[in-house]
Amino acid sequence: MSEPTTDRPPGKTAALSLPSIRGVGEMRHLGLFGALALLVVVGLITRPDNFATASNLVSILSLAATIGVITVGATFVIIGGGIDLSVGAVMALASVWATTLATQSYGPVVMAICAILVGTGAGLVNGILIAYGRLVPFIATLAMLVAARGLAQRMSDRKTQLIQSDNAALVDLSTTRVAGIPLLVYVFALVVVLGWVLLNRTTFGRRTYAVGGNPEAARLAGIDVRRHTMLLYALSGLCCGIAAILIMARTTTGSSTHGDLYELDAIAAVIIGGTLLTGGRGTIMGSILGLLIFTLITNLFILNGLNTSDQLIAKGLIIVVAVLLQRRNLKERAP
């Protein structure tokens, strides 16, 4: 909280210095693109016949879509200096709430709205507890993780809730293709674009960097830090709600088991993407590239018939290497 050691300029100047921060981010993306390219080469060499096909690319994007939407929200929260551990559980809760028979009787549109409201509502609760209740984000969202998962189990009676045939329109998000690509991938792309615009082209985005970089300076510059923090968590919740719609479309179900350990995948993707866990720096593009690297690894391992244990080792190594490289980058760039 105290800032005598900080080298970041406070308030409006923080906003003004944004282009340079973004510049650092883009340099870092070169490394991510490099890693991605390397994985693609590995794929081309090991499974030339299966990897570079249109249908495999569509599969990778479809697999990335659900957690990708969550990653966009997580990027905002982490740039804003917080953390959201509840994302997977909130998504599960939203999927369960939207697929109860009561909700299903109102049709697919209401189901989708329900998922979004439940997600945003849970995020808002997180935000209020953290911003106004002064709870540490780690603790508040950990509590939400446990509670939301429990509530989801209660509501579903721990059963898998199938989407009824009347509401098949929701499943069409996954099965209907436009230009060969399932609709849910377009939803993912739309969320990424909107997230990018919000972070880079609006006051809300500039404030997010300011609040995460130095909350005290942001407050002195006239930003309502508490309100902004609350909104960041609500935004993350909103993303979980959208992700719930996508997972319902993909699996044709709502279930309290959905989204298990998503929080770790999302945080890992954000970190690999170059966002600082301490807040103030980071990009949406980086997070998405980080996520694609993870998704690509899973895909490559399965294509080559390797088991999940090896995947986990590879993912762990990548996180460590990514963070080590970033630290070197930051040092090189230090004045």
Binding site: R47, D49, N50, T53, S55, N56, S59, S62, L63, T100, L101, A102, Q104, Q153, R154, M155, S156, D157, R158, K159, T160, Q161, L162, I163, Q164, S165, D166, A168, V171, S174, T175, P182, I247, R250, T251, T252, T253, S255, T257, H258, G259, D260, T298, N299, I302, L303, N304, G305, N307, T308, S309
Partner: protein
């Protein structure tokens, strides 16, 4: 077009399943309503079903975190209800080892005539089962086995190795009858670290070997819809043409089927595992790639109650020569196909 029809069939099946889920969605209490689709166990021959000495049967099982466990509790209760000479004493289900131990202790203190226990962990409840046996109460060990044979009178449970064998034989015969050589056989496991998963896979591989086939690719999921969906999506990309697929668990199978439909694939046969109602409806529809499922049936709880009653009354199993109930009963994993699915529908459990 054909895959569109298949999807409709699937969703109609889903509707049936969802309707049956109604009680689960509208109330927060565990679905204990014995009226809904309670399996009706076959009547025993030889007069064993005639009312005998009144017996109190204690029952302890884990909390229902999976449709299968929920069905275990429901089946035990409805089996007990069939007999006027049984007083059924279930204890609060729990996933906490400590609580289950005290629950069993309370049943021992209540001097029940027989105990049916599905332990959270056989190792950790062994001691309390031993206490019950020493107190003169016969223990019927359900599915998860106590390591110490002194701890229980009779064990009844499913056969994981046998599930793999049943799936392997079904796939083997189907592919042989189609004269497929060098078939691509794909296996989607549950949680790979569990011994039960390893048993299932071993049985599958062993049975396939008798046909000269082997598993081409194997991946593990987590027994959940979502992980089943993820793994299947990539597996379908890895293998452009598949001849047969065995998925270990029908609940995760919902996700696997969604991935198959999304990829518009129908060139192979799929076999499930466990025997959920959803899977049975899917098989019944005839339009799905899911052609069969091999059971690991929660009806074993109904049988355990019947065995507890016979043991407590000092009777044997009337179809056998022996005067006493056997020490161990392993259920056969039965193969459900379109031809016999009618017979099993009443036994299917909601996943």
């Amino acid at each position: 077009m054909s895959d569109n029809v298949a999807r409709r069939g699937f969703l109609v099946g889903g509707l049936g399943g969802a309707v049956l889920l109604a009680s689960g969605c509208t109330s927060n209490e565990p679905a204990a309503a014995p009226s809904s689709a309670a399996p009706a166990p076959a009547q025993a021959t030889g007069g064993n079903d005639q009312p005998g000495t009144k017996v109190v049967i204690g029952f302890s099982a884990p909390a229902a975190d999976h449709g299968w466990i929920a069905a275990i509790a429901k089946n035990a209760e409805s089996a007990a209800k069939q007999y006027s000479d049984i007083e059924f004493k279930p204890v609060e289900p729990t996933n906490d080892i400590n609580q289950q131990i005290s629950a069993v202790e309370s049943l021992i203190a209540a001097k029940v005539n027989a105990l049916v226990i599905l332990p959270n962990d056989g190792q950790q409840l062994n001691q309390v089962a031993l206490q019950a046996t020493e107190a003169g109460i016969p223990v019927i060990n359900l599915d998860r086995i106590f390591p110490d044979k002194l701890a229980y009178r009779t064990w009844i449970g499913g056969d994981n190795y046998g599930m793999g064998v049943a799936a392997g034989h079904y796939i083997g015969t189907e592919l042989k009858s189609k004269n497929v050589s060098n078939p691509v056989i794909v296996e989607i496991q549950g949680i790979a670290t569990l011994p039960l998963t390893q048993d299932r896979s071993k049985g599958f591989a062993d049975a396939l070997k008798t046909y000269g086939f082997k598993v081409t690719a194997q991946q593990d999921a987590q027994f959940t819809v979502e992980t089943g969906n993820e793994v299947a999506t990539s597996l379908l990309q890895a293998h452009k043409k598949i001849d047969a697929l065995w998925n270990h668990d029908d609940d995760q199978g919902v996700g696997v089927l969604a991935a198959i439909k999304e990829a518009s694939r129908d060139e192979f046969i799929m076999v499930g595992g466990a025997g959920s109602l959803n899977a049975m409806k899917e098989i019944q529809s005839g339009t799905s790639v899911l052609k069969a499922t091999v059971t690991y049936s929660p009806t074993m709880a109904s049988s355990a109650i019947k065995l507890a009653r016979l043991i407590a009354q000092g009777k044997g199993m009337s179809d056998l020569v022996e005067n006493q109930v056997p020490q161990s009963i392993t259920l056969a994993s039965e193969t459900i196909t379109k031809d016999n699915v009618e017979k099993y529908l009443a036994l299917g459990f909601e996943s």
